[in-house]
């Protein structure tokens, strides 16, 4: 499991530039799918066919990660950039980033006396180029970079960039691997551009037109020193979402998840997330509406290069997803 997670989280893939991540995931899940396709926006859609008596279920996890985009290159070879997805200037300062072609850079700052004045406009990427010409040989305006650090194995807990949401993709891949016969047609959609507005989920949900939508995504926790108040904690099981800024989970979907967890003795916790959204936000508003929910993987330090998950939670999420997909779904 750790090897699969490592492959997924370390792949390059800011929003719109998910090609490399998609290749890694496709390579892993193709053997478990009865059909696989890539749509115009770049969503990877892997179908695991049911026996024809069940429902059509869309399972969504996003391939894209947050990153930076080059806005301009100056005469001395420094790159100015903007954010792709939600990015805190204090979190990116001093970090390493990597471009799709392997070019690596570090993020530096203009002189800032008060940290309150630390804005993205004050920061730049230094790729070690001596001048504009040298920099332009490696990167172009419009190129995107992602965080660059290897995954760290802390035993039952793992730390990496890109847990948001490659860990969701990993849960889906593991579920595809483990699940047995099912009445349901299960469309595993590895989506694009979630971080910039749930865009891949919107178009793929239109194409799949499911009876039920389930997103797999990270959620934040309230279990660190002087954190915001939030009931979710690391190691306490799969988080069944009740609400976030993008969706109020359909009560029947929440009940389906809860009853399935209880029935199979899978540890779970409820999640109410005050800010943020997931692919289910787009799926549930598709066409005439799709009952949808979210299984969340509790994660500390989201949108940093040190996102931390607990393998026991990951295991619980995989089990819960497998049991939901294998069972008859009556909403």
């Amino acid at each position: 499991m750790k090897d699969l997670i490592r492959k997924f989280v370390e792949a390059y893939g800011p929003s719109g530039y998910e090609d490399k991540t998609r290749a890694v995931i496709q390579d892993e899940v193709e053997k478990y799918a009865s059909g696989i396709s890539v749509d115009v926006l770049g969503n990877l859609i892997a179908l695991k066919k049911g026996d024809g008596t069940g429902k059509k279920i869309m399972i969504a996890g996003h391939m894209d990660e947050i990153g930076v985009i080059v806005l301009s290159i100056d005469d001395n070879g420094f790159l100015r950039f903007s954010n792709v997805g939600g990015l805190n200037p204090a979190v990116v300062l001093g970090q390493r980033v990597v471009f799709e072609n392997g070019t690596t850079g570090v993020i530096g700052s203009e002189r800032v006396d008060d940290l309150k004045d630390l804005k993205l406009e004050k920061l730049f990427i230094d790729i070690g180029a001596k001048n504009r010409q040298e920099a332009e040989a490696k990167v172009s305006v419009g190129d995107m970079a992602g965080f660059h650090l290897p995954m760290v194995d802390l035993g039952t807990r793992l730390v990496s960039k890109g847990m948001d949401d490659r860990i969701g993709c990993a849960v889906m891949a593991l579920a595809m691997q483990r699940m047995g016969r099912t009445p349901n047609d299960c469309y595993f959609v590895f989506t694009v551009q979630e971080e910039v507005g749930l865009r891949g989920a919107r178009t793929s949900a239109f194409a799949v037109s499911p009876d039920l939508g389930i997103a797999l995504d990270v959620t934040r926790t309230g279990d660190t020193p002087k954190s915001i108040t939030m009931a979710v904690g690391l190691g306490k099981g799969a988080a069944i979402k009740v609400k976030d800024a993008s969706i109020v989970v359909h009560p029947k979907v929440k009940n389906l998840m809860t009853e399935t967890a209880k029935k199979h003795g899978i540890p779970y916790q409820f999640e109410v997330l005050e800010a943020g959204g997931t692919d289910s936000g787009a799926i549930h508003m598709t066409k005439e509406g799709v009952p949808s929910g979210v299984i969340s993987i509790p994660t500390r330090y989201i949108h940093s290069q040190c996102e931390m998950v607990d393998l026991r939670d990951v295991e619980a999420c995989v089990n819960l997803l497998v049991k939901i997909l294998e069972g008859p779904v009556n909403l």
Partner: protein
């Protein structure tokens, strides 16, 4: 000049009729299909009906103001329709209503302002428009609630190949699109002059759903900070240096292959271009990308200084190169395009 007529037409979001009429007249008899839809988009097809559809969108609406009330002494209260900076509103001459009644946005003179007053711009909702009436009743006879208000600006060519005028965002895109639609194409080109872009790309959302294109290009008049006091890193776009190709904005990220194709064609054919070096703003490409099961999109814009103000400035060489670049792309997808 079509662009001049378009810039002097009044077309606030939801009230784009004047602009639509000019375009209908300009394109009548020169295209294969032309209709308008329920939200007011003008939808034009050039080329065959079958094959991979390319949707080109340019919005007809402009930012401005709507009359929202009357004062006892016969002045007009107003609200913004779309984003206009409070700093550019004070003391400007305006045109009110379909009859283009002249008015002036009032302000207290400098002499009467305190230091505190001068700290920031006066908010638009504290201002009113003087139309030379002396009573509420008189003003109410001349103007209706909801009447459009725009800055009173004459379009003109100036300098070496530059133009100035109101509403270059996005009448310059409309003019680019009109030129493209006058040419013959062997792929189905669906040109849409959209409504209500400035308040959320509403026209494009409806039109894209109905056309269901494989590819989309938003044609915009876009931001430029190429003015005194801005250093090189912050110019965003520079008029005269070619059409600006979008890298990402709040509404969409361009399709990688389509973007590479547009950039490659520009380089191959020696068409000057620049990247739009910001991720701020959004345009019709967003809803086109996300219509139904999705479409590949890019944005190609003509850089405009002083956008969303009484008078914007653009380069006609950028305009010509924009027409050229869009044409090169349409030619290049004759054999099909796999995004």
């Amino acid at each position: 000049m079509l662009l001049g007529r378009l810039c002097e037409a009044v077309g606030l979001p939801g009230q784009e009729g004047e602009v639509r009429a000019i375009l209908r007249e300009e394109l009548g008899g020169r295209v294969d299909e032309m209709r308008s839809d329920t939200i007011g988009n003008l939808i034009v097809r050039k080329g065959p009906a079958g094959g991979p559809r390319v949707m080109l969108a340019a919005h007809m609406d402009e930012v401005g103001f709507l009359v929202s009330g009357f004062t006892k002494d016969g002045c007009l209260r107003f609200v913004k329709a779309g984003g206009t900076d409070d700093r550019v509103i004070l003391t400007k001459p305006v045109l009110v209503g379909p009859q283009r009644l002249p008015g002036v946005i009032g302000s207290r003179p400098y002499h009467l302002e305190t230091d505190k007053d001068r700290e920031g711009p006066v908010k638009g909702d504290k201002l009113c428009i003087d139309i030379g009436c002396t009573s509420k009743e008189e003003a109410e006879r001349k103007v209706k609630l909801g009447d459009p208000v725009v800055f009173d600006t004459c379009f003109a060519e100036f300098g070496e190949g530059y133009v100035k005028g109101r509403a270059l965002d996005d009448r310059i895109g409309c003019a680019v699109l009109a030129e493209v639609l006058k040419q013959d194409w062997s792929v189905p080109v669906w040109g849409v002059f959209t409504t209500q872009e400035e308040i959320g790309s509403r026209g494009a959302t409806i039109a894209a759903y109905s056309i269901q294109p494989e590819m989309g290009i938003a044609l915009e008049g876009t931001v430029s900070a190429d003015v005194a006091g801005v250093d090189n890193d912050g110019l965003v776009t520079e008029p005269g240096k070619g059409p600006a190709i979008g890298i990402m904005d709040s509404g969409s990220i361009p399709n990688r292959k389509m973007l590479a194709q547009v950039v490659g064609l520009a380089k191959q054919h020696g068409v000057p271009f620049q990247f739009r070096r910001t991720t701020s703003g959004g345009n019709d490409a967003g809803p086109i990308q996300r219509t139904q099961a999705g479409a590949a999109t890019v944005t190609i814009s003509v850089p405009c200084k002083n956008i969303h103000s009484p008078v914007a400035i653009a380069s006609m060489s950028d305009f010509d190169n924009c027409v050229k670049l869009v044409g090169l792309f349409l030619k290049s997808v004759e054999g099909g395009f796999r995004a």
